[in-house]
């Protein structure tokens, strides 16, 4: 693109402002709600009439009324999402390597299965799991969530990484094998470093998906032993039955959103290229 005229510049700035408003307004809105006092909530105003940290104390400070609900949920969410991301990425990495690199029957079957798995409605899967988990004792446990999360994260991880791995120049691996490395050594030394960005992008996407889950979270857990944040948010109650927990939920929403926004900010370029490669590449 050549040099822009002043008119074009102003046009682009205007478009950027509109895009920023559209994308960030609801986030700022919930941020403002999180700083409102109970009375301020009902002002019907966007900015808090009176700023307070009370809501953050409710969910984070010792003795805060929602602290028992929020902090265990935060711990569960982080732990469960990280573990399921790790397992999915490792399994998908081997799978995608095989599909992209090796010649064997059943490649198409695996890719088609992955696609089919990702169109299953979660709600159709959750009832049988609910029963089975109760029978075998996985209900309300970390593993009881990690396993179903794999059904969400594995398919997209396999597809994305297969697309990434196809772009790797495989001569390097052959060269390593000629130099006497075993296939595994060649994979580890020559392929893994080149594949790292793709693996990394996939991990971010998988983490988002696990972090975002709600249906499994509310259906397969019942206590703070495993309940993740999205489910816990829907269990918040006010100080009395007449008081909506609006402020506390908003504060909790901000606490769980901040890391995600930071991740998007830092990695937006990689996420964009990673997603688009995984999705449409002729």
């Amino acid at each position: 693109m050549g040099a822009m005229s002043t008119k074009q510049k102003i046009g682009w700035i205007a478009i950027t402002v509109v895009v920023l408003l559209w994308s960030l307004f609801p986030v700022v809105s919930i941020l403002m709600t999180s700083f409102k006092t109970q009375a301020g909530l009902f002002s019907g105003r966007f900015l808090p009439p009176e700023w307070t940290l009370e809501n953050y104390e409710t969910i984070l400070a010792p003795g805060g009324s929602a602290q028992d609900l929020f902090l265990p949920a935060l711990r569960n969410s982080i732990g469960i999402s990280l573990i399921s991301t790790f397992v999915a990425v490792v399994l998908a990495m081997f799978c995608a390597y095989a599909i992209a690199r090796l010649d064997f029957r059943g490649k198409k079957l695996i890719l088609t299965t992955a696609l089919a798995v990702s169109v299953f409605p979660v709600v159709s899967i959750v009832t049988p799991l609910f029963n089975l988990w109760r029978t075998i004792g996985l209900y309300d446990t970390w593993i009881g969530l990690i396993i179903p999360y794999l059904s969400l994260t594995l398919p997209i991880s396999i597809w994305t990484m297969t697309a990434f791995f196809r772009q790797i120049p495989w001569e390097l691996e052959q060269a390593a094998q000629v130099d006497g490395a075993t296939p595994f050594q060649a994979f580890r030394k020559a392929v893994v470093p080149l594949a790292a960005p793709g693996v990394f992008t996939t991990a971010i996407i998988a983490f988002f998906i696990a972090w975002n889950d709600f249906v499994y979270g509310i259906s397969l857990t019942s206590t703070e032993a495993a309940r993740p944040v999205p489910a816990a948010l829907s269990f918040f109650t006010g100080a009395s039955q007449f008081e909506e927990p609006t402020g506390a939920i908003s504060a909790a929403a901000i606490v769980v959103t901040v890391p995600i926004v930071i991740v998007v900010l830092i990695f937006q370029r990689r996420i964009v290229s990673g997603l688009t490669q995984g999705a449409v590449k002729g």
């Binding site: 090796l102 696609l115 688009t276």
Partner: protein
């Protein structure tokens, strides 16, 4: 499941007997590497689906487990004969159709913005567009809910009271139309970035020379768009529409948070959830789940047929 994988392995191996040792060991290695992921995917989803199919044939209620009885297709009869089901199906189809249509247009505009944004602004624009996608759906549902809900001090009524029909005490969540409006708006806000991303990758595939040539030949902007850009993005548009439609049809979180199905806003996923997990009517709930699954399959089939694009091909297979 392990047995079927190893059976497949053996079958694959036997077909290869005539081939060289090297390719045989390559095939084995392939299945060793890909097998675990494959088996886990099947274990996690195949079993529940079969179980749901099986459960849907029984009068299974967890509140009365002793009265379980094989009743064949009577659950389906009950579900299909219940106006609640058809109401939910209609609401789900409505939400899907409206969100996908609006998101396609909006997503295309945003993709164009991301594609053409001046280098200096590109980073900001792309990050901003991606933010809603990174936000947990439950959180975005609360954000929209609080902005509109008068019982928790929503400011929307105050801001827009100059619009006809909006008054200070308008309760958005008291009626079907207004509730659906907020649900759809929040869904569009949350998932448009997904469509934009896919369309952006499609835009990147349009050969720049073609566009230039058309412009040199005197084509107007809209001609270039219709004759050059859109035809070349067909695959990307198909993938975007298909995956968004499948997602939209399974909408759950927003509705659960905002109305929990009140005022005829109960979507199919929520109906299935409330029936099985809420009321512990596992048999009936399973029947609804199976019907939901069938609907999703039909959507996928129509989209793939309608666009005449090989899905496997567009998703990265060569």
């Amino acid at each position: 499941m392990t047995t079927s994988a190893s059976a497949a392995e053996k079958a694959a191996a036997s077909r290869r007997k005539k081939r060289s040792d090297r390719s045989r060991s390559e095939g084995r290695l392939g299945w060793y590497l890909a097998g675990p992921a494959f088996v886990i995917m099947l274990l996690v989803t195949l079993y529940p689906i079969l179980q749901a199919l099986w459960d849907s044939l029984f009068s299974l209620r967890l509140t009365a487990p002793d009265e379980t009885e094989l009743i064949w297709f009577r659950n389906y009869q009950v579900v299909l004969g219940d106006p609640t089901f058809w109401q939910s199906l209609w609401v789900t189809v409505l939400i899907t159709a409206i969100t996908v249509a609006i998101e396609l247009v909006l997503g295309f505009i945003l993709a164009m913005v991301m594609h053409r944004a001046a280098t200096k602004l590109r980073g900001i624009v792309r990050t901003a567009i991606l933010v809603p996608y990174g936000i947990v759906t439950v959180v975005s549902a609360f954000a929209w809910f609080y902005a509109f809900d008068i019982n928790s001090g929503g400011y929307i009524n105050n801001w827009f009271d100059w619009l006809p029909g909006i008054t200070e005490d308008l309760n958005w969540f008291a009626g079907q139309g207004t509730s659906l409006f907020v649900i759809i708006a929040s869904e569009i806000w949350k998932t448009t970035p997904f469509i934009s991303l896919l369309l952006l990758s499609g835009l990147a595939q349009v050969p720049g020379e073609l566009e230039e040539a058309a412009r040199v030949d005197g084509a107007t902007g809209s001609q270039v768009l219709r004759r050059v850009i859109l035809p070349n993005m067909k695959a990307a548009i198909m993938v975007a529409v298909l995956f968004r439609a499948l997602e939209a049809f399974r909408i759950f979180d927003n509705v659960y948070i905002m109305t929990n199905g009140a005022n005829n806003t109960e979507v199919l996923s929520l109906l299935a959830y409330n029936t099985s997990i809420g009321r512990l009517e596992i048999g009936l709930g399973s029947a609804i789940s199976v019907l939901l699954f069938l609907c999703v399959l039909i959507i996928a089939f129509i989209a793939i047929k309608g666009f005449k694009v090989d899905l496997a091909g567009t998703r990265g297979e060569r």
